[in-house]
């Protein structure tokens, strides 16, 4: 996808909401991407961190890579998960940082927030919370985070530079950004970039 989008940012946001609302409430449906435990295995997540999670924590996972593959999170770290969805990566992060750490997931889709929040309560995780917000306007104070993670979300944002500026704001100096996203090896023609279905898939 392009640096700056040729599609209407709000229309794109609504399309993304619609797509991931469906993934939250109907995780077993067929999508043009993999989901759930099959996807987590495909992306080489550590089974020791995935297997203990309840199905509702994993079934709506729709990431594009493994943000933990380049480095494990430190015990006690404060983590922000940008576009946390149903919370899968937040729950993986929570196990890595332990109860002395803290994980805040941020998502704009009500159905995802409801699911992730209820799952955290079910799991009895006091160090994980989910907040409503946009990647371009994170509800996190300046310099709070040791690490920011994200998975397949920044690509879906119309203004990626604004997202990176916001991530920079919430990270402490020397803090770490670890995310996964898609990249294309062949140029995407302008007419295809205006196809909003391409952005959500």
């Amino acid at each position: 996808m392009a640096d700056q989008t040729p599609v209407d940012p709000e229309a794109l946001r609504e399309q993304v909401r619609d797509k991931y609302r469906a993934v939250a409430v109907a995780p077993g449906a067929t999508y043009h991407f993999h989901t759930g435990r099959r996807l987590a295995a495909h992306l080489a997540y550590d089974p020791e961190l995935v297997d203990p999670l309840p199905d509702r924590a994993v079934e709506s996972f729709a990431g594009v890579g493994n943000p933990f593959s380049l480095g494990r999170l430190a015990l006690g770290a404060r983590v922000v998960d940008v576009g946390s969805g149903a919370g899968f990566d937040s729950f993986v992060a929570a196990q890595q940082v332990g109860p002395e750490g803290r994980v805040v997931g941020v998502d704009m889709t009500a159905e995802m927030l409801k699911k992730s929040t209820e799952t955290a309560e079910t799991m009895g995780l006091d160090h994980v919370e989910f907040r409503e917000g946009l990647a371009e306007d994170l509800p996190i104070e300046d310099g709070w985070a040791d690490v920011v993670i994200s998975n397949g979300v920044i690509n879906l944002c119309a203004d990626k530079r604004a997202v990176f500026a916001e991530i920079h704001r919430v990270l402490r100096p020397d803090g770490r950004l670890q995310f996964a996203d898609i990249a294309n090896g062949r140029p995407v023609p302008p007419e295809a970039l205006r196809d909003i279905d391409l952005w959500t898939g």
Binding site: Y31, F33, H42, V64, G65, F164, G175, L177, D181, R186
Partner: protein, 51 residues
């Protein structure tokens, strides 16, 4: 956006020590595989340090 575009944007945004992981065939076997193949789309892990 190509990998090099991601790297430049990350660096332009005030991050250093950018590391990009190996390509992952994210859409392989999924319904979106054909579209992904058309533009050689793969998943990548990125890591960078805030300056």
């Amino acid at each position: 956006m190509p990998r090099a575009g991601w790297q430049k944007m990350i660096e332009d945004s005030g991050f250093t020590d950018v590391v990009i992981g190996a390509a992952v065939d994210t859409f392989g076997g999924a319904e979106g595989e054909d579209k992904a193949r058309a533009y050689e789309v793969y998943g990548y892990a990125f890591m960078a340090r805030r300056s």
